[in-house]
């Protein structure tokens, strides 16, 4: 295998809330066009870790980091990095669907593009349609693009948020427990989508659901008490974990 630059890399990354380190010196690599799952019990730092990648962590009160996060080899905490530009390259979907309630379905998908500006109406139309198709929502909403996004079901809202996230064509998509508030059907749709989307994007997903991690991801990382315990190919992690704690967690003995 030739040496390929990982899409996302962290080195000695520590994320801090005030004086408490939620993520402790984590060094990891995430290859492009794969799905990477982060698992671990509640409060293990996996969500905080995710939020350091698009620099959302520093918006929390007392949130700061040491160490590095590299996107295509460039430090996202570098002095001349624009957080705005970074977040256009690293999109994020949250645990609860967060559609903008006053905007239409169309308006929601176009929101990121409109903020960015500089696109014609025709371009917007095209991107909105394509994004909704990629989020497997187009057929359900194409006749009511101008209606409120709040009329959609929870699962549809989450796919709408996914469409909104992929519309500006990011390189990386961060998913923070995207199916935690969905029913099994909605969960399945999102999981199926990940297989499609990883052709174009690099996906990092935080999940509480180990079956989900096993189903959708190429690599899995196990976090415990803020430290990265084990990282490896998903198949290997779930069949022959190297670490005892990992084994205990994935076999359901704690967490």
């Amino acid at each position: 295998m030739t040496e390929v630059l990982p899409r996302v890399q962290t080195s000695s990354l520590t994320a801090i809330y005030g004086k408490v380190a939620a993520v402790k010196s984590v060094t990891l690599e995430f290859a492009a066009n794969q799905v990477h799952a982060l698992i671990g019990p509640s409060g293990c730092g996996k969500s905080t870790f995710l939020r350091t990648i698009n620099r959302m962590h520093e918006m929390s009160v007392g949130g700061w980091v040491t160490g590095k996060v590299l996107l295509d080899g460039a430090d996202v905490y570098g002095p001349d990095v624009s957080v705005i530009q970074l977040r256009r390259r690293v999109g994020m979907v949250f645990q609860k669907p967060t559609p903008f309630p006053t905007k239409s379905i169309y308006g929601n998908v176009a929101a990121g593009l409109v903020i960015e500006g500089g696109r014609s109406r025709a371009e917007l139309d095209r991107i909105v349609e394509r994004s909704l198709q990629r989020a497997a929502l187009w057929d359900e909403v194409k006749d009511r693009l101008k209606t409120s996004a709040m009329a959609l079901s929870g699962g549809q809202q989450q796919r709408l948020c996914l469409a909104r996230t992929i519309a500006p064509e990011p390189e990386v998509i961060l998913l923070d427990e995207p199916t935690a508030s969905l029913d099994p059907q909605g969960t399945q749709r999102i999981e199926e989508l990940m297989f499609e989307l990883k052709r174009d994007f690099t996906i990092i997903i935080v999940t509480h659901n180990m079956q989900q991690a096993a189903r959708v991801s190429d690599t899995t990382t196990f976090f415990y008490l803020g430290s990265m315990i084990e990282h490896g190919a998903t198949r290997q992690m779930f069949t022959t974990p190297a670490n005892e704690q990992t084994e205990a967690y994935i076999t359901g003995r704690f967490g």
Binding site: N54, V61, R87, F100, T102, A111, G112, V114, P168
Partner: protein, 329 residues
């Protein structure tokens, strides 16, 4: 439910039943009390309306609906028309809103989104303190501080800058529609600001994060996510301010110049309905003067009810889009 009652001894069962019906009776008494209290409010409103209509009857009989469109107000000749006061009331409130709304919404957004943490609460509390100052104090401050300032500095400047508009032409007296509007704006700002701040604080953090995760700056997040989410509440805040502006009496009467007249210029003195009632009621010499003032009160009552109804309608229209947060769970 009957099926869940214990089936032990008969006496135990009876005791349980008694305890249960006792609880039900307590509930009934409580409900009757609360229903009475709730019904008392519309009843009070109707009683108020009835008293106003009865007091105003002689004036209604003599001047009819045209009262609201007549300019003359001459107690000596017995000629009464409320048009200048109605215009004065609506105009001062409108101008006050034009000044107060951008300022208070701006401050509310600043305090919830931009201000450093240590500044937020102290500033908000200081502004809320302004709401507790009696309006006569605002009036005195207006007479001794605001009017001289306006008369010698602000109004001449406005006239030289915007004098091409009829609104800013004419003689500068000091006491004027604009002076009253400015004091009203200052008085309603704390209300609009503090309600708007509460409304903005209630916007879920997830909305802000969703916008920022899309690459929005703070300002863009405010514009695309936070203000739209809060818009029906923000309109509510503005309506609250408008309601206060329409009814404010003391400070306005001290600053508006109290002249029954309509002028195109905001520098000219005017009158509001509330100010006229307060000023003339004690000195009403004839029964018709008294009835005419009561008629003015009735009109003020109707106008405020109409404005509030229109505002409710507006909020309802806006919140139908799902802003109310019904579906947010």
């Amino acid at each position: 439910m009957a099926t869940t009652l214990p089936t032990g001894g008969l006496s135990r069962r009876a005791a349980t039943l008694k305890a249960l019906t006792g609880a039900v009776r307590g509930d009934q008494i409580f409900r009757i009390l609360l229903t009475t209290a709730a019904l008392a409010i519309p009843a009070l409103l109707l009683a108020l309306l009835a008293v106003l209509v009865r007091g105003a009857r002689p004036a209604i009989a003599q001047f009819g609906v045209g009262f609201a469109a007549t300019k003359t107000w001459d107690p000596v000749a017995g000629q009464f028309g409320a048009f200048p006061m109605i215009v004065g009331t609506l105009l001062t409130s409108l101008v006050a809103l034009l000044i107060a709304v951008p300022l208070s919404l701006g401050v509310a957004v600043y305090l919830t989104e931009f201000a450093p943490g240590f500044l937020r609460r102290p500033v908000a509390m200081t502004i809320e303190l302004l709401a507790a100052i009696p309006s006569v104090v605002y009036g005195l401050w207006g007479v001794f501080v605001l009017i001289p300032l306006l008369q010698h500095a602000v109004f001449p400047f406005l006239r030289s800058l915007l004098g091409f508009l009829p609104l800013f032409r004419g003689v500068i007296y000091g006491p004027s529609v604009l002076a009253a509007s400015i004091i009203l704006a200052i008085m309603i700002m704390p209300f609009i600001m503090s309600v708007a701040r509460e409304v903005l604080l209630a916007v879920p953090g997830s909305q802000r994060e969703a916008a920022m995760a899309l690459g929005a700056t703070r300002w863009e997040a405010v514009r695309t996510a936070i203000v739209p989410y809060a818009r029906s509440g923000l309109i509510g805040a503005i309506i609250l301010g408008l309601g206060r502006a329409l009814g404010e009496t003391m400070a306005v009467t001290m600053l508006i110049g109290n002249r029954h007249d309509i002028s195109a210029s905001l520098f000219a003195p005017g009158y509001t309905m509330a100010a006229a009632i307060a000023n003339e009621f004690n000195e009403a010499a004839t029964p018709m003067h008294y009835a005419a003032l009561t008629y003015v009160a009735l009109l003020l009552f109707v106008i405020t009810v109409l404005v509030n109804a229109a505002a409710r309608f507006l909020i309802w229209r806006v919140s139908r889009g799902g802003v109310s947060g019904r579906n947010s769970a």
